[in-house]
């Protein structure tokens, strides 16, 4: 099979500029195969969110622009499409920080995810049930305003809302942000199930390298708007540099941990 067809999503040498002057992505390339989970890793400010928004085209609403390179979805260029077009094609972003509609109920939030579809009522209803199947916690909260549910439930609500669009590819931005570790694990388990059961491809932006590499098949590491390393998740997990810089483990053990601690402390003082 040729490359363009096997890859659901291809980002080729993309450059992004905000406000006509701020160069943020400096030639990013990555691939997401059909049915794969691909992690995009990197520190805060590396450009993960910008990469996802370049794909979903939410960039334009923030005065960002793809100035070089190309983005292909199933071999077709999509850089000029609107977010609505992309959602119709099956690509949807779950934004960092959840962004649930706070004054809508959980169920109304889920229903907004189906806005671009022309499905019948009964079909939408079945899909709601399927989402509640993945996230039973949402079912008991369906009538609550999304602004009043817990952070974990909001993350579930945001993912569930995206599922309601019947996506082929989900761009998932930092689902672990601000959540307790067991909850993060629980949410990643569900994401994995969605990936396997619905055959949805996932591009996952995460700072939580440890967790992301546990669930992803492949990973890219982004630093300052450039991909500096990529490889199978299993390989990245064992890589010494990744261990040292992103997983907080190194062959010298405690010493490095203390360095990190010192660095943090200094950062707080300055």
């Amino acid at each position: 099979m040729n490359e363009a067809v096997r890859n659901e999503l291809e980002v080729n040498n993309v450059e992004v500029i905000y406000d006509h002057v701020i160069l943020v992505l400096k030639g990013v390339s990555l691939h997401v195969p059909k049915g794969g989970i691909v992690a995009l890793l990197g520190a805060n400010g590396a450009g993960k969110t910008t990469t996802l928004k370049a794909v979903s085209n939410l960039l334009r609403a923030e005065r960002g622009e793809v100035t070089k390179g190309a983005i292909l979805y199933r071999g077709e260029r999509v850089d000029a499409l609107t977010p609505t077009d992309l959602v119709r094609k099956g690509v949807i972003q779950v934004m960092e920080g959840r962004h649930c509609f706070e004054h809508l109920t959980v169920e109304e939030n889920l229903l907004t995810g189906a806005y671009t579809r022309t499905a019948r009522r009964a079909e939408i209803h079945d899909d709601l049930d399927a989402v509640y199947g993945y996230f039973p916690a949402l079912k008991s909260r369906r009538r609550s305003l999304a602004g009043y549910i817990s952070g974990g439930e909001q993350q579930m609500c945001a993912i569930g809302r995206a599922l309601m669009s019947k996506p082929q590819t989900i761009l998932l931005d930092e689902p672990s942000m601000g959540l307790a570790p067991q909850l993060v694990e629980q949410i990643f388990e569900i994401v994995k199930r969605i990936n396997e059961e619905e055959n949805v491809s996932i591009l996952l932006a995460e700072q939580n390298t440890n967790m992301a590499l546990k669930y992803a098949h492949y990973g890219y590491i982004l630093e300052n708007g450039r991909i500096v390393m990529d490889g199978d998740a299993a390989v990245l997990r064992e890589n010494e540099d990744v261990k040292e810089f992103y997983l907080g483990i190194s062959s010298t053990g405690r010493k490095s941990y203390r360095d990190i601690k010192f660095y943090r402390r200094r950062k707080r003082w300055v």
């Binding site: 509609f101 809508l104 806005y115 305003l145």
Partner: protein
Amino acid sequence: METLYLIFIDPFVQMAIEPAFLAEVLIGGLMSGVMYSLVALGFVLIFKASGIFNFAQGVFVLFAALNFVGLMDLGVHPILAFIITLGIMTALAFAVDRLVLRPLVNQNPIILFMATIGIAFFLEGFGESIWGGDVRPVRVGIPDTALFWETGFGEILVLSSDLFAGVIAAFLVTVLALFFHFTPVGRALRAVADDHQAALSVGIPLNNIWVIVWAVAGFVALVAGIMWGAKLGVQFALSTIALKALPVLILGGFTSIPGAIIGGLIVGAGEKLFENYWGLPLLGGATEEWFAYIVAMIFLFFRPQGLFGEKIIERV
């Protein structure tokens, strides 16, 4: 002493002596309040959905009424005139979106506000060049008979046109509430009002939503314009009267639909009561012009988000 008596005691004595008159004043006030509510409602819809303070909403009322009356004067049946005017207001919504909002998207709110001031003056002038500047009476066959309502404490005079206006307004608000809560488009409108970015991310096309909101605001303006026109005749002063919606918004909150309704009723009833019981005896009248603005200003000190300003949900 005398003045204190007139301020604090006498008005209430009067109210107690002649409850039927008090009821008439109240009803009259609530009726003009309904009009304020409708104009304020148009403001709230646009402000919620697009964050734009549409200065032109008052002129929309005038412009819609002018078109409606103008068409009727040409011999068009009222229902057809209503439908055509609705079409005109929808076209206006499209034009505003294409010519003003899209080019200015992502600009500072104050720039968009200035743009709406431009729209206001343009429409006012445009309306006048097409339909002329005369006061035109609206004859839509709303009966204007006086009804006498016998109560235990005297006879109350109610105009049937006032009752009619109240019923129409209540109906309109109910229809809007149903639309917002039980249709996918209504839900999308509320979603956009809550979080533009998130709405965009699930594929809700913001521009279409904005056109719909402006068209709905145009529809509300048309209803308000007809009712107001039926009372006062369609005249250019309408757009100034419509500015009473500003204090209503301050009272009710800029983002609350119930706030716009209740704020309008409070302002309408409040200014009539004040005029009759305090304004006339103490200040020689003409307090209706400014009463609402003073109340709004005092209100700003204590509750700047308005009575029903949308709760800002904060979590830690």
